[in-house]
Symmetry: C2
Subunit: 316 residues, 2 copies
């Protein structure tokens, strides 16, 4: 039998000795000039291809430096879609390369739709797709082939089920938005319900119920939750509601969350959450003159090492 997503994830976290997820959210204006020059030269006249190649080159260098240190990477697809289909090609290449280097990959896409449409997303990101080759022959192939995807649960369970089904079939996972890290997440998520809960707690209960039947050996299931580092009190409440749910925790670092802030996202065993940092790791070179542009990936490695130290109060 194949290992479940949660078993693979927890195993990888234990092997690396930290719960860090590196957010691969490239921005062309922050990619070192020498990488962009090389990409532009190779792409000749196509600026979109040049952008895609610059992103691929940047990401691969960072993946090479951090793949022995951390268990997970999470490329945010908005920063690829912004360059259209060539950007999406860079997204595919990034996921493929990270997988090849032994990292667990989370497609941060926050996809959501009604059932029949969610099924198309689920197949694209987690499963396999039927296409045709030549005149009549069908082929079945993965497309993005991420290990997990982030999704938005506003549409209720029938928009989530297709992701659960593909996840089950291919030993993948999903992370449903529960309490997001941004300031105005309170606009809707903190609104009190008639029964005394807040919207985010209600969503927490929903997510917990969606994964309840699939708890694997490690004690967790493959239906995770996104819980921001910027709201430690709310995270503590959710941790109690969702004992067997893995939290994907954004908001550490650039968004203001500290190691103390992410503590409530973990269970007492030091497990149950992965903590994401994007900008502070991938653009670390900007704040580390000892490395500079030329050694930007080494700076990212150093930033990972610093984060591992910082989080050691939780995960020893």
């Amino acid at each position: 039998m194949n290992k479940s997503f949660s078993d693979k994830l927890i195993e990888k976290i234990k092997a690396k000795g930290n719960p860090i997820c590196v957010g691969l959210d490239p921005r062309l204006d922050k990619i070192p000039a020498f990488i962009k020059r090389k990409a532009a030269y190779e792409a000749k006249d196509n600026p979109f291809t040049a952008a895609a190649e610059a992103i691929i080159g940047f990401n691969k260098a960072i993946i090479d430096e951090v793949c022995d240190l951390v268990p997970v990477v999470k490329p945010q697809i908005a920063f690829y879609e912004i360059y259209g289909h060539e950007g999406v090609r860079a997204y595919e290449e990034t996921l493929k390369y990270a997988k090849k280097k032994g990292l667990i990959t989370i497609a941060d896409a926050k996809r959501n739709d009604i059932g029949s449409t969610a099924e198309a997303y689920a197949k694209a990101f987690l499963g396999e797709v039927t296409i045709f080759e030549g005149e009549e022959n069908e082929i079945i192939t993965p497309i993005f082939d991420a290990d997990a995807i982030t999704v938005n649960g506003y549409l209720g369970v029938d928009g989530i089920k297709p992701f659960i089904e593909e996840a089950k079939k291919y030993d993948k996972g999903l992370f449903v938005l529960v309490k997001t890290s941004n300031k105005s997440s309170c606009d809707l998520q903190d609104v009190p319900l008639a029964d005394g809960m807040s919207v985010y707690e209600f969503m927490g209960h929903l997510v917990e119920s969606w994964g309840a039947d699939d708890i694997s050996d490690c004690g967790y299931n493959f239906v995770g939750a996104v819980v921001g580092a910027t709201f430690p009190q709310q995270a503590a409440k959710l941790r109690k509601i969702m004992l067997n749910t893995i939290f994907l925790v954004p908001g550490y670092g650039a968004q203001g969350g500290t190691a103390e802030d992410v503590k409530p996202c973990f269970n007492k065993d030091g497990l149950g959450a992965i903590v994401n940092s994007s900008r502070e790791i991938i653009f670390a070179y900007e704040k580390m003159p000892e490395f500079g542009e030329a050694q930007f990936a080494k700076a990212s490695r150093k930033a990972c090492e610093n984060m591992i130290k910082d989080l050691s109060i939780i995960f020893k």
Copy 2:
């Protein structure tokens, strides 16, 4: 001064004499064999390119047939992303072709994220993006260049603001999910709040407030709402809350909504909503043997004409 999105939309609806949006949600297994054969032949060995070309060929034929009849098309990006970056290229081509044919385009993408990430989506779908050409030269170019995008408001206003800003800058629009057409939209959206409203009504108030400052000559603003045809009672409530908001109404046709059901989505002037139909129009040939595969686009035209007749109880 340029016309606002809502003025352009209302004008187009009046000119065509109907509020119909054709959902361009292709499925490879439903695209006529002769189109797929041609695409496969032209794409030679690449099945992804073949899939993309088949979709482009299928969509263009339908756009050609319906562009004089209806005001709006709405390609759902999941059905393109399922073929990876080549599918996304087909998405770009579809939007471009529909625009060229004078149609208003809505990118049905339901994107959502924290502010800095939502900004990347907003620029990609509605605005312009800076990329580089050659060694140092920057170029600024639109990417998807849709007239409007669907978004999910679970993250609150700071995830919506970037879309509003790009929409303002480029005379575009957005449609925020309020009450979706799927059965389990009740899971979260119908939950009662402490103050007596339901979650969907609360979201309706939020959306109404986000657009309140930007009502244009036609009486509507560019921050629209997605309100499913399958819940007429809830739609009636929302219509009262959101007088100046344009509703994008999915769920008519294949999902079960009738002309009577969509009636409450409209204001008394017969305006204020656009009604989407996807499968029943684009795959109409399956149910119209008088056309058959060879004339699939003519069948789509016929299905549009039928829908125009059906909706004439609202829009005369």
